[in-house]
Symmetry: C2
Subunit: 293 residues, 2 copies
Amino acid sequence: MILVVCLNPALDVTYHVDSLVPGRSHRVRSQHERAGGKGVNVARVLHQLGEHVILTGLLGGTEGGVLRSELDAAGVWSCWTAIADATRRTVTVLAQEATVLREPGPVVTDAEWGAFLRSYTGLARRATAVVLSGSLPRGVPDDAYARLAALSPCAVLDAEGTALRAGLDAHPYLAKPNAAEARGLAAAGDPLDALLAAGAANAVVSDGEAGLVAAVDGRRYRVVGPAVPGNATGAGDALTAVLARGIAAGTEWPALLREAAAVAGGAVAVPHAGAFDAGVADRLRADIVVEEC
Amino acid sequence: MILVVCLNPALDVTYHVDSLVPGRSHRVRSQHERAGGKGVNVARVLHQLGEHVILTGLLGGTEGGVLRSELDAAGVWSCWTAIADATRRTVTVLAQEATVLREPGPVVTDAEWGAFLRSYTGLARRATAVVLSGSLPRGVPDDAYARLAALSPCAVLDAEGTALRAGLDAHPYLAKPNAAEARGLAAAGDPLDALLAAGAANAVVSDGEAGLVAAVDGRRYRVVGPAVPGNATGAGDALTAVLARGIAAGTEWPALLREAAAVAGGAVAVPHAGAFDAGVADRLRADIVVEEC
């Protein structure tokens, strides 16, 4: 079982409008809601891959209830610690451009965080890999990911800012930020060097169409594939999902990096995050170049 | 008991952001939610006035549950017909200016509308006045307000567009659109004449700081008072509430128009809709001029 942690899930609401003009009133043409947050996307992709995955984290309010129902209906197993505050929403207004409004989200109490830690400790013991993904809600300590990573020999950390920096102190098995998140750790110099120096045992950094670089088992790889038209949101989460699965299965790194890049490309071909087009991934696989450097 | 109909209530969400820039991602600094919709505002004001009021309409989804809980907590009696679709949200993004996103709202089935009609028929029989206020959700017939008004000798209609035009066919006791809504009925000419010609027994038209005009019991009045700084949203609903209460009580029109204008001014002094500042209303009362014209 792969355990995916999503401490700050979101109910992603999308509004389609003709155009967004500040100061005006707009009729929303159509709308949809979807369970979101990086960990939710990772768990969905693992579920699509046929993996036994459990999604865990903190959930509250009516928004949390909607999110849980959607994941239940999708067949994604989840085990949440209830919080008093409501799970955040993210509103994306789609016109010619995408305008995003991110709610501040819940404040987690010490007691709630303690309850989550107890639940997590039991789940992590049974997991072959643990994915720690996304932002931390207010009230959760900065070193949350370090505490969680310390309880698993096979932790994959995908975060940014303080959550990433503090999490690396626990020497997670793999750090997988994207290039922008890695630059937050060290503005200059090689991002892989920075991640290893900060504590990661292995590191993979994705950079959109530029592909990805990896420092794994003492070797360096560069992975490049054909550009895929579509929506890159969630592609990094698909990458994380495949990497966690391969680490749990003991897959060789060159083959794993190729597979991860293929599935991430397949995720770009799907308009929403948390899913990939298996046909696109199949076609990409042979054209992805993995070279040691 | 005054019965207030709100067929298309809304959960009004307000986001405070530093500035709204289309195409950007924004952190919401603070947010709040409030039960909204014109009928909800009218019922709240009647409740604040100490009237026995029942709010009725169509409600669904988790948003509907939040709305109902808030009204219960506020002590406003409500009796809703459940619908399968979710009650709409209205998102207002407050920066230097207010940008509003109005969800399309639920689609009501024939069976749901039939269930509401049966419930309404029983409630209207016990009401001294009925307020029909706001927009119609999709699926509800255009002549909904005509059907509802026909069941009450004391119907107050505050709507716009087709809902207003069709509702006037049933000769409601009072039509009370604002000036912009009345212009939708007849672009040129006197709005009071247009409302009476279309079927209203009596008519009051509000026009913000310009005051209001009335054609009631065969007489014409103009009502003007001091300008009140604040938020005019919901002032028209406060006006409707006082007019309905006065009609039910048989108050003389000049006194009723003065009282309604005073409470509407008190509503401007409160930052949110559905409430009025009684102190401001008290101070305004003497300075409001009601003249026959």
